[in-house]
């Protein structure tokens, strides 16, 4: 298993390196290069040349790449053009909020989707199963922003239960002090993944429910409850670990949209505003961080799968 983990780790490092190459290529696709993006269209050719010389953009591409790589790995993502702040300090400020938002909604997802999927599988093809399947189809097809807008309209404007805007602050404290303002963003972000996870859980339980080992357990006289919780669930929950790892990119994208709806000052909102104002150092920093997080998440999921499931020894 150590060999498997090491191989998986080497593969992840390779993927991260390819990501940096892709981001580097994107950086050089900026119209007129980085100099034009920062200095603006009215900069003279001399100013552009000076900027390129000062920042090393006149050197061979390979040299530039390795210099850039060194800076990325030491946590230097450059300087925001619009916000007059280093990208790493912006990320330090914003990233924890996105992590809290994503984590809370992931917890809500698992709490709701796992029991829902199990219940649907046990009572399959009954009316509750059909209704839940219908809803999960709709929520799976609904854009997050539409769900968010309906949430605001119904629970904030009409019923007045929750504020329409997430807590505004630079610190993390107010997120928990004004938790009522976090309810709508967390639920909005969770609904899409609940739809996906419950479908997955349902079919995972169904896959296991007519396996030989279940029949053996029943034949030994185990109660239906014991068969479900002790035998079926243990196996049915395994794919959920992989799903948790794989759902990270979707979660980040969902967080981006959710943050923009509820004006939650996390990394997603930072990225969105950077995209609108062509603040490319911020965009690149966020892209690299999310890609690293995704690779790390997948690696973690695979490793924990290998630890839990002895059949994984690829």
């Amino acid at each position: 298993m150590i060999g498997y983990i090491l191989r998986r780790l080497a593969q992840s490092i390779l993927v991260v390196l390819v990501v940096t190459i892709i981001v580097f290529i994107l950086l050089h696709q900026l119209p007129g290069g980085a100099a034009r993006a920062i200095l603006g269209p009215r900069a003279t050719a001399l100013q552009v040349a000076q900027f390129n010389a000062a920042n090393g953009y006149d050197q061979p591409l390979l040299v530039q790449y390795f210099r850039q790589l060194g800076e990325w790995f030491t946590g230097n993502f450059g300087f925001s053009i619009k916000l007059n702040q280093s990208v790493s300090s912006l990320l330090v400020q914003r990233l924890p909020k996105t992590i809290i938002l994503s984590l809370l909604s992931l917890i809500l997802t698992v709490i709701v989707a796992v029991p829902l999927g199990i219940y649907q599988a046990v009572r399959r093809n009954r009316s509750f199963d059909y209704i839940a399947t219908g809803f999960s189809f709709i929520f799976y097809a609904a854009p997050t922003f539409f769900i968010g807008i309906i949430m605001i309209e119904v629970f904030s404007q009409n019923l007045g239960w929750f504020p329409p805007e997430a807590p505004q602050s630079n610190g993390i404290g107010p997120i928990f002090e004004q938790f009522d303002a976090m309810v709508l963003p967390i639920v909005t972000l969770a609904l899409l993944s609940i739809a996906g996870f419950s479908r997955y859980m349902r079919s995972s339980v169904l896959d296991n429910i007519d396996q030989d080992y279940v029949r053996t357990a029943q034949a030994k006289g185990a109660s239906p409850r014991r068969v479900l919780y002790h035998h079926v669930l243990r196996n049915a929950l395994i794919p959920i670990i992989t799903l948790l790892g794989l759902s990270l990119p979707a979660l980040f994208a969902g967080a981006l949209v959710t943050e923009s709806i509820f004006n939650f000052p996390g990394m997603g909102l930072l990225f969105w505003q950077a995209a609108q104002s062509s603040d490319y150092p911020v965009e690149l920093g966020v892209v690299i961080i999310t890609a690293f997080a995704t690779v790390a998440g997948n690696l973690l999921a695979d490793v924990s799968l290998a630890v839990i499931d002895p059949r994984v020894k690829l």
Partner: protein, 313 residues
């Protein structure tokens, strides 16, 4: 050139020589057609999939044919008739620049549907070719090509798209191209996986033993078996592309006005949650959901029929 690939075949597949002639002689002449017919029968029996097809046809009629009869001005701004509630002359009211909302839904739908389908086709073609090459050559080529796929897949697609959109100004052809070229990763993985498993199947091995060229086995035996999986995935690609274009439109980085798409319309409508101009918010949102659900139903139906084909084989 195929040395690394051949090495892998020898390592991964212990091919028994016994069943090979059986597999070949057991092929009836009209097999491909009857498999197709079998799949078609299963698909037609799937009522939800038929509902999906009908809904998609209606949506296409609504977007592309209805504007020929329901003519509205979707170019000139009319500030005298902004945000009118539904009433005579404007069955769904008007938006904040005075465009007729019903006519705008048709125009926006054209963009959403056209981009969705075109992007899915590009993604499927690029992904199939990429995956087939990787799976066919194997070895180092495969490793490099698949790490590239892994790397792009680990950048959340919405972030990648938003970044690309800041580099190129979005128009409909540009969006089709960009969406297509970022969505080919999943079909690439599927095709590569399928061709890796198919390569060691008895009937493909048999072709090789009998002296058939590698390209012959790819075109005649591997591709037809991959087609089902690819088509099923292409359907889900359409749904994804329609959603992504809506996300970009909502984030204000989609198609530029006066052209629009359903996501962009919804984005404009969000400014009017508080005065409660529901006709600007619900119609585009509901249309996105209905079309995406319909595409997913068709995809599920296709998957069932492909799986039945595979099971009965």
């Amino acid at each position: 050139m195929s040395d690394p690939g051949r090495a892998e075949v020898e390592v991964s597949g212990e091919v028994p020589s016994g069943p090979v002639p059986v597999a070949i002689s057991g092929l009836p002449a009209g097999r491909a057609k009857s498999m197709f017919r079998l799949g078609l029968e299963v698909f037609i029996q799937n009522r939800l999939a038929i509902v999906g097809i009908v809904v998609l046809a209606l949506a296409a009629l609504f977007c592309f044919v209805a504007p020929l009869f329901y003519r509205t001005d979707q170019v000139t701004v009319n500030l005298l008739e902004t945000n009118l509630p539904p009433g005579p002359g404007h069955p769904l009211g008007t938006d904040e620049t005075g465009y007729d909302q019903l006519g705008r839904l048709m125009v926006g739908g054209q963009v959403s549907l056209a981009i969705g389908f075109a992007a899915a086709i590009i993604a499927t073609i690029v992904g199939t070719v990429w995956g087939a090459i990787a799976g066919f050559f194997g070895g180092l080529v495969d490793a490099v090509m698949m790490r590239i796929v892994d790397a792009i897949l680990s950048i959340p697609i919405l972030f990648l798209l938003l970044f690309i959109v800041t580099i190129v100004r979005p128009s409909v052809p540009v969006m089709i191209f960009v969406l297509g070229l970022t969505a080919w990763l999943v079909p690439a993985r599927l095709v590569r996986g399928e061709s890796l498993t198919l390569r060691v199947r008895e009937y493909v091995q048999a072709v090789r033993v009998m002296g058939g060229s590698s390209w012959h086995s790819v075109l005649r035996h591997i591709m037809p078996n991959v087609v089902g999986t690819v088509i099923v995935n292409a359907t889900f690609q359409v749904a994804d592309a329609i959603l992504l274009i809506a996300y970009l439109g909502y984030l204000g980085l989609g198609i530029s006005p006066p052209a629009t798409d359903w996501g962009g319309m919804l984005s404009n409508g969000t400014a009017f949650i508080f005065p409660n101009y529901w006709w600007l918010i619900y119609p585009p949102g509901i249309l996105i959901i209905v079309v995406v659900v319909a595409v997913n139903l068709v995809g599920d139906g296709l998957r069932d029929s492909v799986e039945v084909r595979l099971q009965r084989r």
